[in-house]
Amino acid sequence: MTKSPSGPEDDLDGAQPIPPWLKWAPRLALALLVGAGLFTFQLAGGASYLREDPSACMNCHIMRDQYAAWQKGPHAAVATCNGCHTGDGFVAHYATKAVNGFAHSFAFTTGRFREPLQIHDFNRRIAEANCRRCHAALADVVDGFAAHGEAGACLRCHADVGH
């Protein structure tokens, strides 16, 4: 009856809303902070962020817990961080990286983020889409014959798979 507010029934095929911070971050802070952001981006090994190497994410100690847990799971053999956390396809892939690369550097630099880290809707949808990419056959069954074309959110049951 009541839906979990974290949105197990997220309509994956609906329009993807712009993550809230995107609305203010560029306008308010871009001019002032892009410099600082880039600085951190560089410090944090900006170049490796563009590669598939999970250690790119590890440049921030904040990501340490996820890294440690990811290494122990079965996905470590088949999916890097970006395997789940960046969009599929060349453009989507680098677009996600650009957005998240900026967002994370920005957040890290300014300290403007809440802990514990919680995945944003924007990135949850990306992760979910990636499950479906690799597990297409299963996804078919899970989504199968759903009323109103509503997909079954993988993450409702499998939030822990990555790490």
Binding site: K3, S4, E9, D140, V141, V142, G144, F145, A147
Partner: protein
């Protein structure tokens, strides 16, 4: 639209054969969907858990009752139930529930058939979609068909159905989508939603997929009663008492407001109510429902078969399969998962036991006071009302089939309200006959 095309594509990729023939027969569906069918057939199995599951005692079939096994008797396990329900069919025969495969036979041959039962019973014990449609006139109106079945005796209605629950009861044969098919449920939910400020609610078009994963079960696993209907009042219309909400005391308030009673208690003359399998209502108040966890998530979890995964159609106790049913969300040891559930259940059973004992005392006290007063004095009438209310609330917990697991704190709250009623009844009896009392109980509104 694209989404529809995609899911149609999926459907053909999954079905191994076209669905054609007698759609009331699950075996026909089984040719297209053998994995789901095989799971479905598993509901004949018997396996116990500490507080639930399914078991069967072998019995010698007779002509009157050809069953070769029956579930354990709840009345033998707890004879207090016989006194609780004195004068009602349930005091004759009431057993543990078991797999879906048995639903039609267990109903047809229950000892309760010694008393006349209405045709409406079959809505929850048979594959009834086709019967409702067939009797529903030219436009196959299922509600109208159900009303016609409700005007028949059980024996007559029984000739209109053949199967226990089948695929067609939960699935639209065209799209295979979940749908609810019981007119009483569709109406009951619409009344509930209307009371919540959502008029014209149509569950089949307005519920989300996640909600449907509980509603298909809620059609049957919920509290009901029969209202007199039809021109001569002889039909038994199946109604869920949800206008005022789903909580036990909300349903009770509605029964009180209507002055409804199921039967008159044989030992005390109280106007009684029977609660039946309120799994849906109790679950609704629990943390799992709140977190969006549906009946199907636990009772029909996904199952890996070869390279793919399917919904396990062997509906049963999740404690027989915690790996799939619980551990995806609770990644802890299986033994610990079961122990947590059992600890909750054991606490519920202990509380229920206390409440049952006190209810027995109240029944004794009322019977004694009636004898002492030589009839229906004011205090006797007031105490009967307490009995009626306490009995329904305790029954709500006792007849709910998860031993409180579906919402532990809510089950306990219902028992606290029940004990409050018992205290009120006890105090009113403690006073001398006819003396005025300061308790909350009044005889006004008390159905007789």
């Amino acid at each position: 639209d694209i989404e529809r095309k995609r899911s149609e594509g999926r459907q053909t990729s999954v079905a191994l054969a076209r669905l054609e023939g007698d759609l009331d027969d699950p075996a026909v569906w089984g040719r297209a969907y053998p994995l789901e069918y095989q799971g479905y057939l598993g509901t004949v199995d018997h396996e116990r858990t500490r507080f639930g599951g399914s078991d069967a005692l072998p019995r010698t079939p007779t002509e009157a009752d050809p069953r070769t096994s029956v579930a354990a008797s709840k009345l033998e396990a707890d004879p207090r139930l016989i006194r609780m329900w004195a004068g009602y069919g349930f005091a004759i025969d009431h057993r543990e529930e078991r797999g879906h495969a048995y639903m039609l036979d267990d109903q047809t041959f229950t000892g309760r058939q010694q008393k006349p039962q209405p045709g409406a019973c079959l809505q929850c014990h048979a594959s009834i979609v086709s019967a409702n449609r067939a009797l529903g006139g030219d436009d196959a109106d299922e509600a109208a068909g159900a009303a016609r079945l409700a005007a028949m005796s059980f024996a007559e209605a029984r000739t209109h159905v053949d199967h226990a629950i089948g695929c067609i009861d939960c699935h639209d044969p065209e799209t295979l989508r979940l749908r609810v098919t019981r007119p009483a449920f569709i109406e009951g939910l619409a009344r509930l939603e209307a009371a919540r400020g959502r008029p014209d609610y149509d569950v089949n078009t307005m519920a989300s997929r996640g909600e449907m994963r509980s509603f298909v079960c809620a059609q049957c696993h919920s509290e009901y009663h029969f209202e007199a209907a039809g021109p001569d009042g002889s039909a038994s219309r199946l109604v869920h008492p949800w206008d005022g909400g789903l909580r036990a005391d909300e349903m009770l308030a509605q029964y009180d407001a209507k002055g409804f009673r199921d039967w008159v208690h044989a030992a005390t003359g109280a106007p009684m109510l029977k609660a039946q399998h309120p799994e849906f209502e109790l679950w609704s108040e629990g943390i799992h429902a709140r977190a969006g966890v549906a009946c199907v998530d636990c009772h029909m979890p996904y199952q890996r078969v070869g390279g793919t995964k399917i919904t396990d159609h062997h509906v049963r106790s999740p404690l027989l399969d915690t790996g799939r049913a619980c551990q995806v969300c609770h990644p802890i040891d299986a033994a610990e998962i079961v122990a947590r559930a059992e600890a909750i259940q054991a606490r519920t059973i202990a509380m229920q036991d206390t409440a049952m004992n006190r209810l027995m005392d109240l029944i004794d006290d009322i019977a004694r006071a009636t004898r002492a007063d030589g009839g229906e004095t004011e205090r006797v009438i007031a105490a009967r009302r307490a009995q009626r209310r306490a009995s329904f609330l305790i029954d709500f917990v006792a007849s709910e089939n998860s031993a409180g697991f579906h919402a532990p704190q809510e089950a306990a709250r219902v028992l606290v309200v029940a004990l409050d009623e018992i205290i009120a009844g006890t105090r009113v009896l403690g006073s001398a006959p006819g003396a005025s009392t300061s308790t909350r109980i009044t005889t006004s509104n008390a159905p007789q």
